[in-house]
Symmetry: C2
Subunit: 330 residues, 2 copies
Amino acid sequence: MKRPTLEVVAARAGVSKSSVSRVINGETTVAPQIRDVVMRAVHELGYVPNGAARNLVTRRTDTLAVVVSDPPQGVVSDDPLFSAVVRAVSRELEAAGKRLVLMLAESDQSRTRVEQYVAGGHVDGVMLVALHGTDPLPAALARQGLPLVSFNRTSAQDVPYVALDNAGGAALAVNHLLQRGRRRIAAITGPLDLYEARERLDGYRQTLRDTGRRSIVALGDFTRASGAEAMRQLLEDDPDLDAVFAANDLMAIGALRTLHQAGRRVPEDVAVVGFDDIEAASYTSPALTSVRSPMADQATAAVHLLLRLIEGGPTDPVIMPNELVVREST
Amino acid sequence: MKRPTLEVVAARAGVSKSSVSRVINGETTVAPQIRDVVMRAVHELGYVPNGAARNLVTRRTDTLAVVVSDPPQGVVSDDPLFSAVVRAVSRELEAAGKRLVLMLAESDQSRTRVEQYVAGGHVDGVMLVALHGTDPLPAALARQGLPLVSFNRTSAQDVPYVALDNAGGAALAVNHLLQRGRRRIAAITGPLDLYEARERLDGYRQTLRDTGRRSIVALGDFTRASGAEAMRQLLEDDPDLDAVFAANDLMAIGALRTLHQAGRRVPEDVAVVGFDDIEAASYTSPALTSVRSPMADQATAAVHLLLRLIEGGPTDPVIMPNELVVREST
DNA sequence: CTCTGATGAGAAAACGCTCCCTGAGAACCG
DNA sequence: CGGTTCTCAGGGAGCGTTTTCTCATCAGAG
């Protein structure tokens, strides 16, 4: 079961270790004849280079870490975002011939372990998904001096990032509601220590302000239940509202349910817009109008940014556009 | 930016490399006094052991691979399953102090790369998620002689696995429908080259056979659209049916839509049961009754099985129980 | 026929760590 | 008090690669 080493291959092919190494790494300065005899030996023995030995001398690992920093009950690792991101990243790295180490940092202890791991030279670069403005990890990783990109805007300075146009997306949603003739447009916001939530709220507020209207805001925490509760609150505060913008789809789905229970028709009495356009948005009845967050594209862009960074290329931030998907709820 | 090595730490502490190594690895045969002086040097220098060098000599990496083998449009990597599994595995490995390398094998080329990677000694073990009966990867990986477990039943011999009781779950669903007084119970099945689909169909068939009833089956491919189409087919074939068992929730959701369009009331005219109990199952109206697949628990069990295997422990297959979650659709 | 410059192969030195082995000194025993 | 055992630190040999440097060979120029 012991795997053959470079030395064994060399002996079998009747050449030196150096030559085998050169062939394996595709160097051009090797005679075709030697190439062939080496390749034959490689195949016969089923030789595969030992990763650790190679890493040790080259200082490269062809492995990148994706760090998702989030409390256990956190929003980042919720299905839609998490899965789309991980899958897109994985595909992109596969295409680039790199490997993916996935690390969830859900506690201070695990954050420390992430730092240790990164410091241990196990990876060539890090892609960070951390939505909390107060998260200390971005800055800590930045200090390590390894290539680092953030999946979104971050508190740490000088960390290249890819960002969604959250404010713009919210504006898109609100303008759509205005165009539909809605006058009293309420919002259900997410936890305000998250960039996403803050920026979406800002976009909503700004758009209403620009048209001389008043904001009506209820606070949610990005869960369906909180959306339902926030909707109850809103109906109580302002029974005449005729539209709701929810900062994500889960809360919008919760709001739909409350509206249904309260006997309001959607969209006739109250129009509802969500944000993210998750899979479930198209399953509800009425199907939910939503601002599409191109998570997968964003992840792909972040990977490219990281790969460029590793190669020493330019690292300008990337802003992803978003679009409104109009369905039955507006 | 160059990180300190063991040698530098040893020099600083005024001891030998061996002693520093012993301290780092928590060996007990070292005097408290030496321990302290070494620890101080470690902290002062911010020393972190180089992973590659350590791997090279110990032959361990504390890293496990999770390989998801599936065509690009495949079902495995669909949100609910994928995300739950990856997250559960990640948490479990984190708790065990191991790292996770995630590999999606979506083509023959990437399957080869997986084999190479595993052969390169980068990981201590592999957890495989491969649902296709014809997938060659399980056998190929088994041949490598590395600890290997499968997330589900697999075609390769002697690979320890964790499995869902798919047939039992289907029986649960069908019996529930019978208890509700349903007489003509149809099924929408998934692609039959998947274990999941085959076993669920078998469970459905067997249960009906046991009670002397006829099966009515339409073929889907685990997508929502195919569920809708299969439901149309079923209504045409047997307009009198009063219940449907769908082999997964997405198809059940598609079926709900078709039934709604056809003017059948759920559950009054037709009862519907899904399988998996994905998040979206509770968002539909009427909310979907479904057989809960404990994906996260299954993943956790698979990780434990793999860890046991690595330590040389017993490797009996594990069968996960499932339960019926009754909602409005039955 | 000698000299120069390419070309390409081999020898050997790292890379940073673990772990076996040796030996110094302390502890214990008769 | 000599001998044996025990404890614990240090020396140094690897682990399997890459890579630098040296050197042999050969073609072509003078």
